[in-house]
């Protein structure tokens, strides 16, 4: 079976610095894969080359067996890749609901004239977009619904902003979700919640998920497979236990994380 996402020998350099060095990576349908590695290992760069922010210098990226290298980011999103950002990038001065509705742009059609004339088709589409947004926001229980719909995104707490980013990515109707450190900056309770949520995303919504995470409890809790990067090179791949006990991974984390991983 063709994997949903496949990276073949992807290399990316910034000047003399090789950030990704022949990285191979596959994510199969319905799989949750975690990408780990110390700071500066090239994890976010992997997301950036997949989503088209950077073009890889070498190698190929396949979505459902089709190369997406060189496509502009918005087209890659339309083909079924949506992501969240490590440094939150919400539309802060738009309402919570609008943030999610905006992401439906790629799979909706009403153009300039139909929007100006408010044709019946356009109005139907608008209602569908609104329903979609409410449905995606309801995924997070009571946190982002009701009075929250019409609040500006900047009024949300940090944890709720992370949730809103996930809801927004969901509204783009992706096949594969790329989550960049979804638990960063969350307290232990929220971290536990996000762990359950990622599982729920696959079970109920059927997404394939590639996630970057530093919190090893989260990685352990969610991953089917773990891929470890260091200095742009893939150093280990396998189940959480396999990767966590891999000597090269322990070395990469300079022992501190390795202590935690052994427990």
């Amino acid at each position: 079976m063709t994997p949903v996402l496949e990276l073949r020998g992807v290399t990316k350099s910034f000047g003399g610095l090789r950030v990704l060095d022949h990285v191979d990576l596959t994510v199969a349908e319905g799989e949750i894969v975690s990408l780990i590695g110390p700071n500066g290992a090239g994890k976010t760069t992997v997301f950036n080359v997949i989503t088209g922010v950077y073009r890889p210098d070498e190698g190929d990226i396949l979505l459902d067996g089709r190369s997406i290298v060189g496509l502009p980011p918005h087209q890659i999103t339309r083909l079924g890749v949506a992501r969240t950002f490590q440094t939150l990038r919400l539309f802060l001065n738009m309402t919570v609901k609008e943030n999610v509705m905006a992401a439906a742009y790629g799979h909706t059609k009403a153009g300039l004239w139909r929007s100006i004339l408010r044709t019946p088709g356009q109005r139907r589409e608008e209602r569908e977009i609104e329903r979609l947004a409410e449905e995606k926001l309801a995924f997070f229980g009571q946190r982002l619904v009701g009075y929250r719909f019409d609040q500006p995104a900047y009024s949300l707490s940090y944890a709720n902003r992370r949730r809103l980013e996930i809801a927004r990515a969901m509204a783009a109707k992706p096949r594969i979700l790329l989550l960049d450190e979804p638990a960063a900056g969350m307290n232990p309770v929220e971290t536990q919640e996000i762990t359950q949520l990622i599982g729920k995303l696959r079970q109920e919504a059927g997404y394939t998920i590639l996630v970057i995470e530093h919190d090893m409890h989260v990685v352990e809790g969610i991953s089917d497979r773990v891929v470890a990067l260091d200095h742009g090179v893939k150093i280990a791949e396998g189940s959480f236990e396999e990767v966590a006990t891999d000597p090269r991974v322990i070395e990469a984390y300079l022992g501190v994380q390795a202590e935690a991983a052994r427990k």
Binding site: A82, R83, M101, A104, Y105, R118, P152, V189, E193
Partner: protein, 496 residues
């Protein structure tokens, strides 16, 4: 269900429902209540009132001057809502905007005047303007693919500069393939600084628009159409995408929005509105001049958008009305005095925080007392400083002439030493006000207000047609200090 159980077992720590109780900060005072009431009015009613209320103007007056002011105001409203598309909706700093106004006006002059001998009907010219204006809008929007913020601003400003240079020097301009035709024209392609006059009145399939009232309603209909179109657009997926790219262009692109295309669309939409407005304006004036395409017009339009609240359609239109009418009122010295003193009086409540009427009354009293005291002292030390007669013509100038300092033998043409000194002192005082806070600011306000009145009576009032932009600028500074988001705009947060 497990879901409900989990909800109950989660501790309340980290749950932030308190935000709901805080909500947005409630505004106080009369202005706050007025804005709150305005916020409750449905959008449709707001926009309708912006068309219906102006529509009554020709019913109330048939005075040519007032009608002309009304037409100019509607033209400004059209231009302001058009500028708001790129600037307010999409957040693109477009300084070339006014060129499109000139483009529409000159295109009408080319196709419907004795200058070229072409006498096309209005619908055809409007169609030509719409098509070429869109194309030009796309072209000028292209730099926005790679440039943002001030970089984009400077590039588009050059476009405006190039366009107005072409208009001024168009009498010597040659176009490929049209050399012979242009050589035949009297005064070259654009007739240079003289402009082109004797344009046809608009000809709608044989029905010629000749009266000011007709042009007023034509402009108003155009405004109504633009308003409805932009309101629908703002609430559609395209409007949302514009806001998204204004907020966070990278995230917008990665959420499936074609950011580059949306930028061009914003530029072109605004450009078409400006170009069509230019066409209507040219036909109404019967002449076009390069001076209507300059940076002053651009700044005035930006003032309207910013004063009204960038991004808020109704606000921007109201901003256009306020500034257009204020600029017109400031043209004649007697009106200007009233505008000046009313604005001065309004400064007080805007600067008094928290709002207390006792404090305002105290300040007014202090300012009046301060004035009489200073006058008494100056009169004793330097009698020439108070012996002058008022230069202004309004009754209010007579009233204040026994309160402010007026140098003897002052003439409208040459500012007196007193006037010049007061002017410099006023600038220093205003700058001082911006760094002072709290009680010190209130105390410093008293001499500043008095100085402002002295400067007005000694220097500005006889030349109000020239100095009106100074007054407008001062008004804007005061207003924006009190309310940075504009009259009806929403507070925007940059970084949280």
């Amino acid at each position: 269900m497990a879901e409900g159980e989990r909800q109950r077992t989660i501790p309340r720590i980290g749950v932030d429902e308190w935000v709901a109780t805080v909500e947005e900060r409630v505004e106080r005072g009369l202005a706050g209540r007025a804005r709150e009431a305005w916020g409750r009015v449905p959008a449709g009613v707001k926009l309708a009132s912006l068309v219906v209320v102006p529509a009554l103007v020709p019913l109330l007056t048939q005075d040519d001057y007032l009608l002309q002011v009304a037409i100019d105001t509607v033209v400004f409203m059209l231009l302001a809502v058009g500028l708001n598309v790129a600037v307010g909706f999409a957040g693109l700093l477009d300084l070339g905007y006014v060129a499109f106004f000139g483009f529409g006006a000159y295109t009408y002059a080319m196709f419907a005047s004795d200058h070229t001998g072409l006498h096309f009907q209005a619908p055809l010219v409007l169609l030509i303007v719409a098509v070429t204006g869109t194309a030009l809008g796309f072209l000028v929007g292209l730099p926005s693919w790679r440039l943002v913020g001030d970089y984009l601003a400077i590039v588009t400003l050059f476009f405006l500069q190039i366009f107005s240079t072409i208009l001024v020097n168009g009498d010597r301009l040659q176009l490929p393939f049209l050399e012979k035709e242009i050589a035949k024209l009297d005064g070259g392609l654009t007739r240079g600084p003289n402009g082109i006059s004797n344009l046809d009145p608009m000809n709608w399939l044989g029905w010629k628009l000749t009266s000011l009232t007709q042009y007023f309603y034509l402009a108003l209909i155009a405004f109504a159409l633009a308003l409805v179109a932009l309101h629908s657009l703002n609430n559609s997926r395209i409007g949302r995408a514009w806001r998204a790219l204004r907020e966070e262009p990278l995230a917008a692109e990665l959420m499936g929005m074609p950011v580059n295309w949306l930028k061009l669309l914003a530029f072109a939409t605004g450009s078409v509105i400006a170009a069509l407005t230019g066409t209507i304006f040219a036909a109404e004036q019967g002449a076009v001049f390069p001076s209507s395409v300059d940076v002053t017009v651009l700044i005035t339009l930006y003032a309207m958008v910013i004063l009204g609240g960038a991004g808020d359609l109704a606000g921007v239109a109201i901003g256009a009305i306020v500034i257009s009418v204020a600029l017109e009122a400031l043209r004649t010295p007697s009106n200007a005095s009233w505008v000046f003193y009313i604005a001065l009086a309004l400064t007080l409540p805007a600067l008094v925080r928290p709002w207390r009427w006792q404090l305002v009354a105290l300040l007014v009293g202090a300012t009046v007392g301060f004035g009489f005291a200073v006058r008494a002292i100056v009169e004793a030390a330097w009698p020439a400083g108070t012996g002058g007669r008022p230069l202004g013509e309004a009754s209010i100038d007579d009233w204040v002439s026994s309160w402010v300092l007026l140098q003897r033998n002052a003439t409208p043409e040459v500012p007196t030493a007193l006037g010049k000194t007061a002017f410099v002192a006023l600038i220093v005082a205003v700058l001082g006000l911006t760094v002072l806070k709290g009680r010190r600011r209130l105390v410093a306000l008293v001499p500043t207000l008095y100085l402002a009145a002295c400067v007005w009576e000694n220097v500005l009032v006889p030349q109000s047609a020239v100095t009106r932009y100074i007054i407008l600028g001062a008004l804007l500074v005061g207003m924006m200090a009190a309310r940075p988001q504009g009259l009806l705009g929403k507070t925007r947060v940059e970084i949280v």
